[in-house]
């Protein structure tokens, strides 16, 4: 039996079914596109994207979106932006390649940072970027605010750490050694014997005649011995004087050693860090890191969805009952990018604190999933009185380069709670500025916040309770009416370095130093007394020994010299009496 290949009678029902499906799709296309746009947007941003109404205008190749709300991926009850209407003119042919090329997008009624009732943050694909940025922020060590609490602690002073006792012992040994040497040398001079010999010679000369040549010769020899003894005493005196001076210098060195020991003991005092930058980082570091994290989140998101180069790129597939898998894009040189927003004209509503919002213009161009195909960087710019924004995402070359700068004056600055202190800062209206440059892996960013009329409040309901530290900080900061904070980020993304400073730093640091100064002086007195108690008992006997040695040697040498001088004087007197005879001359 031959079986027909085609079931011709089913062709018409099939065509009807196809027509019905097409009709249903056209009827529900707006809803399908709206849900798809919400889903894709939510996945991209990492926060809820809600659209009130979306209309596909097929004849004009246009998409109209009304009531767009994009939740903030950072704050629970805040929107990133809201737009009253967006109209996108599409190029139809790329749609056949499942590519979206928007010639021109106009957005009206854009508002930023509006409040919302529910938490719009979601997990998903962007969660990887958020997690990455969160981990990045955690490596930026924000120091805690370590203020003195009235007590300065000191580590135990180990006597072995002190140098004075060792120096004193060495000096004592040197003094003993010198005393022994000088004693020995004094004995070796035989001054008594020489003086006695001279005195006896003088007695012999008393009854002698000038013609007794032998006796006169003996007298001359004795006189020569006296002179030699005097010379030896003089040499010993010189040596002793030098030795005593060295010992006295050693004694003075003990005073220096004691000063060093004081310094060692002071080094054992544990003082809090009172440098201004530390305080700035402690007070505003977290806020600065949060701002840098937000900026970096968009940079990383841009790099993920606008990567350089033309290599195949895998992204998570669509959410469905089956496993999502990965969807791979294969960009082709000279082909259309998978997504391209050529130009966008935005009507932004901004208002200074306490004033009605005004409408300003902004523009965006060159946002594409394949910058290498488009060949131009993505640019965003906006300018209005008190507001300036410029951003350039250049992913055309292999090394991406992202720069952005924004400043907003007269804006209501967000309140800050000082970490671990029951103090809240309400900056009021002020100026915010952020500049960021990320080239490859190198980052350079700066965030500043200025306000002329800040308000400080004590938060009695928070977890942080009142403390001496909190009271001290409160007394200092509550009298400061202005605020100027500057935070900078440098280095590589893998090893960033954060530096924060503010005008509060110096005021707070000076006050803290004053408070800490009194306690520091008392602590220093305590450690000096401790050093004195360990050192003085060993130093005083040595100093006394050196002093006594100097006096003793000087006295003894003086006695020896006097003895020799007297003997010489007497001998010379006797000889002069003998030589008064005419014709006799003393040699």
């Amino acid at each position: 039996m031959r079986v027909a290949v085609f079931r011709w009678k089913a062709v018409v029902p099939l065509l009807v079914l196809g027509g019905v499906v097409l009709g249903l799709w056209l009827v529900f296309a707006d809803g399908i596109a709206r849900r798809t746009a919400e889903s894709v947007g939510t996945t991209l941003i990492g926060a809820e994207v809600e659209i009130e109404r979306l209309h596909l205008d097929f004849p004009h190749g246009r998409v109209e979106i009304h009531g767009l709300t994009v939740a903030s991926p950072f704050a629970a009850l805040q929107n990133l932006l809201q737009a009253e209407a967006l109209v996108a003119d599409l190029e139809p042919l790329p749609l056949l390649e499942k590519k979206l090329v928007i010639d021109r997008l106009t957005a009206t009624g854009l508002r930023f940072g509006t409040p919302r009732l529910t938490d719009g943050r979601t997990g998903g694909q962007a969660d990887g970027v958020m997690g990455q940025v969160t981990r990045w922020g955690e490596q930026l060590q924000v120091p805690g605010l370590a203020l003195p609490t009235g007590k300065i602690s000191a580590a135990r002073l180990d006597p072995a750490q002190l140098t004075t006792p060792r120096a004193a012992a060495a000096l004592g040994a040197r003094a003993d050694s010198a005393r022994q040497a000088w004693d020995s040398q004094l004995k070796g001079l035989h001054v008594d014997a020489t003086a006695d010999s001279a005195r006896r010679m003088a007695e012999r000369l008393r009854g002698a005649k000038a013609t007794d040549v032998t006796l006169l010769g003996d007298a001359r020899r004795t006189l020569g011995q006296l002179k030699q003894a005097q010379d030896r005493v003089t040499a010993l005196e010189r040596s002793a004087t030098s030795g005593i001076a060295a010992l006295q210098s050693g004694a003075a060195g003990l005073t220096d050693a004691k000063q060093r020991d004081y310094a060692t003991a002071r080094g054992l005092l544990k003082l809090p860090g009172l440098d201004a930058p530390d305080i700035g980082a402690a007070l505003f570091g977290s806020a600065a890191v949060e701002r840098f994290q937000r900026a970096l989140y968009w940079v990383e998101l841009g790099r993920r969805y606008m990567p350089p180069g033309l290599l195949p790129r895998a992204t998570p597939g669509p959410t469905r009952a089956r496993r999502a898998g990965a969807t791979v894009r294969f960009p082709q040189a000279n082909g259309e990018p998978a997504f391209l927003l050529k130009t966008a004209e935005l009507s932004v509503q901004l208002g200074a604190a306490g004033t009605a919002p005004r409408t300003y213009a902004a523009s965006v161009s060159g946002v594409t999933s394949d910058p290498a195909l488009y060949g131009r960087p993505a640019i965003a710019s906006a300018a209005a009185p008190g507001f300036r924004l410029g951003a350039l995402l250049d992913h055309v070359r292999p090394t991406p380069r992202d720069t952005a700068t924004a400043s907003l004056a007269g804006v209501a600055l967000p309140p800050l709670s000082l970490p671990s202190l029951p103090i809240r800062l309400e900056p009021g209206a002020g100026t915010l500025a952020l500049s960021l440059a990320v080239q490859g892996d190198e980052v350079r960013a700066r965030w500043t916040m200025q306000s002329d009329r800040v308000r400080w409040t004590r938060d009695s309901s928070g977890a942080a309770t009142s403390s001496p530290t909190g009271d001290l900080v409160w007394r200092v900061v509550s009298g400061i009416p202005t605020l100027a904070v500057s935070a900078s980020l440098t280095g590589s993304l893998a090893r960033p370095q954060l530096a924060v400073s503010s005008n509060l730093d110096r005021a707070l640091a000076e006050r803290l130093r004053a408070v800490a100064g009194a306690e520091l002086a008392a602590a220093e007195r305590r450690v000096r007394a401790q050093v004195d108690s360990l050192v003085d008992g060993q130093v005083a006997p040595v100093l006394a020994k050196v002093t006594a040695l100097g006096g003793d040697v000087t006295r003894r040498l003086g006695g020896e010299r006097t003895q020799l001088d007297d003997a010489r004087k007497a001998l010379e007197q006797r000889l002069r009496e003998l030589t008064r005879l005419p014709g006799v001359r003393l040699p």
């Binding site: 042919l93 089956r322 791979v328």
Partner: protein, 173 residues
């Protein structure tokens, strides 16, 4: 209800007037619907083939129903196959690049690892599945079909309203 539908499909397919080849072809085509993610352009083509070609519609529904759980179970394998073909086979990259940048083809989502992996497996299984199921239907009809046809269960199933719907798409002799 699902089990009842499955039974109806099974009975209607096995006891239809269609040849074993028609039944096996329908089942093999239906297996593509089951193995691959349903809402894709290629499945519209497969569905159109099931309607237009003179194959067993019940067999196709049976194949779809039978292979849906298999598809879920094999998703990790499909993902691996698709990833290997799309990302880890440089020789195929020019082909994928050309297809990705050709009109209409990207609408099939061939560049999704699950879609491509499951479609490749379904295509590879089509002929073996066709041959095996044709042999199975022949054996069934030659051995136990008559006894089943006389059973109360069979009569109750074929008497349901769904059977009338099936008759619209039963294979033509």
């Amino acid at each position: 209800m699902l089990v009842l539908k499955l039974l109806q499909s099974l009975f209607k397919a096995l006891h239809s007037e269609g040849t074993p080849g028609q039944l096996a072809a329908g089942l093999a085509l239906g297996s593509i619907l089951g193995l691959t993610p349903l809402w894709n352009l290629h499945n519209a083509v497969v569905f159109a083939l099931i309607i237009v070609l003179n194959v067993s519609f019940a067999g196709a529904m049976l194949g779809w129903a039978l292979f849906v759980p298999v598809g879920f179970l094999l998703d990790p394998a499909f993902d691996w196959i698709g990833r290997t073909l799309l990302l880890e086979t440089p020789a195929l990259r020019p082909l994928w690049t050309a297809l990705y940048n050709a009109p209409v083809v990207p609408l099939t989502s061939f560049n999704n690892t699950i879609v491509l992996g499951s479609l490749v497996v379904a295509a590879a299984l089509w002929v073996p599945l066709f041959l095996a199921s044709r042999w199975g239907v022949v054996r069934y009809r030659a051995t136990v079909a008559e006894r089943v046809r006389r059973s109360a269960l069979y009569r109750s199933v074929v008497a349901s309203k769904l059977y009338n719907l099936y008759r619209l798409f039963r294979p033509e002799a």
